[in-house]
């Protein structure tokens, strides 16, 4: 009984916290219901919800979302793999650092999205083009964070491990990797929204599938309630992914104090 009350209480609490969002949605419904804003400009919230259910039922939405997620996550995965390796080698090998450091400082401020038309000219309107741009966009934050993470490993940790007789081969696996993990995760946290942004804009510019294609396609056809439905679903999806990453990194870094 007590447990049920506790669940109920926490439900009420989270509802109270999310209430402003519902207020905004209610306001949206109200102004369109009262015809204060033309439904041609802003479709009714309830009709958007109906369209979301319709799109989910027909499977169009899930199919396109999975295409976009596939592109975003494969690009991100390659970016993490290459970025972490490069970051580690930059921090430990002088030559690598001397070669890559200036390249990174010059390319860091370029908006990677600006490369979309160029890459599409090179690779065509393909999955590979989108994945490659995501890779480029996520690579730099991960390299930079890994690099600084390894550089900022507390020297005392290394010294004490050495003096306690840790073999130098184990030093990397046992000390450097865990100690720089918070920085690497931070880099991934920065890279994840970047991956979404890059995928969406690549699909806006040229694509035959994906969320960005769906949104701009519905917009071009004038089916604005469908367009709003897709955008709303995507916003919720981004929010959920953001939360999952936050929870995961909290779990992984329990020893680090969050």
């Amino acid at each position: 009984m007590v447990q049920v009350a506790g669940v109920f209480y926490s439900f009420i609490k989270s509802f109270y916290r999310a209430l402003p969002v519902f207020i905004v949605f209610g306001f949206w419904e109200l102004i369109t219901l009262l015809n204060l804003v033309s439904t041609a400009l802003l479709p009714r919230f309830s009709s958007v919800i109906i369209k979301i259910i319709e799109l989910l039922y027909s499977g169009i939405l899930l199919q396109n979302i999975s295409v976009s997620l596939y592109r975003a996550f494969s690009g991100l995965a390659i970016g993490i793999l290459v970025g972490v390796i490069l970051g580690f080698s930059m921090a430990t090998k002088r030559h690598v650092e001397r070669f890559f450091y200036p390249i990174i400082t010059i390319t860091f401020p370029i908006p990677k999205v600006a490369l979309v038309p160029l890459i599409i000219v090179w690779l065509g309107v393909t999955d590979q083009a989108a994945i490659f741009i995501v890779f480029l966009g996520t690579l730099l934050p991960i390299i930079v964070n890994t690099y600084y993470g390894v550089l900022s490993v507390d020297k005392r940790l290394l010294w004490s491990a050495l003096s306690l007789g840790t073999p130098p081969n184990n030093l990397f696996r046992k000390i450097i990797v865990p100690a720089s993990l918070p920085y690497i995760l931070n880099g991934i946290k920065i890279a994840l929204p970047t991956a979404f942004i890059v995928v969406i804009s690549a699909e806006f510019v040229a694509s035959r599938a994906g969320v960005g294609y769906l949104i701009s396609g519905y917009g071009a056809l004038g089916l604005y309630d469908y367009m709003f439905a897709v955008i709303l679903v995507f916003i919720i999806l981004c929010f959920i992914v953001d939360r999952i990453v936050a929870i995961l990194s909290k779990r992984l870094l329990k020893w680090h104090g969050g």
Partner: protein
């Protein structure tokens, strides 16, 4: 392209849009962030909205903004505003929340009135965080403007680039790309210069 002035013209248009949206977001975002500290209702209202808005790629909203504001300046400025304002609010709030309570206590002991507290203690103490937010938001403003121009056309560097890509005019494409890179680099450098000037005491 540099000589006949087209590049410069489009660069100025892009910068104008990015900066107006950015300035608007700072003007609105900082007061909201501060108000979230001062008033509980404001905190209750804005906290979940900012949390929802923050992880959203603003570029998904491009079609909506085309629908509402057309493809002129207003649409781009408004989208830049929306995409920067959540970052600014979040960092201002973070800064105002992390003001060292020692400052506030000692100011209170010395009899600082409440109104002055805001300007003399809370604002300067949260300035580093606000600058962090601005440093994050400034590249976002450029990127958003650029992509919007790429998608919707209507002058600006993004338009120049996508137009060139459509006709396989490689030199024009690369010059637009290079211009964005240079703008990004210069903005990055100049904001950290301004930061170190203003935050000398920090």
């Amino acid at each position: 392209m540099v000589l006949d002035g087209t590049l410069l013209e489009h660069t100025i248009i892009t910068l104008y849009r990015a900066f107006s949206g950015f300035a608007l977001s700072v003007l609105v975002g900082v007061p909201i962030g501060i108000s979230m500290i001062l008033s509980r209702i404001s905190n209750w209202f804005f906290d979940p909205i900012v949390a929802l808005l923050l992880p959203v790629p603003p570029l998904t909203l491009i079609p909506i903004f085309i629908l509402w504001f057309g493809i002129g300046h207003e649409a781009k400025i408004m989208l830049v505003f929306i995409s920067c304002v959540a970052v600014i609010i979040a960092s201002t709030y973070e800064g105002a929340r992390n003001v060292d309570p020692l400052f506030i206590w000692s100011a209170r002991i010395m009899g600082t009135p409440k109104k002055k507290m805001l300007w003399k203690i809370i604002m300067p103490a949260s300035m580093p965080y606000i600058f962090n937010g601005m440093q994050v938001a400034l590249p976002i403003s450029i990127i958003v403007t650029f992509v919007f121009e790429m998608v919707s056309g209507g002058s600006g560097l993004g338009f120049l680039e996508s137009y060139a890509a459509r006709f396989f005019e490689a030199p024009q494409l690369f010059s637009a790309l290079l211009a964005v890179a240079v703008i990004g680099l210069m903005l990055d450098k100049s904001i950290s210069k301004v930061r170190s000037k203003i935050l000398k005491w920090y």
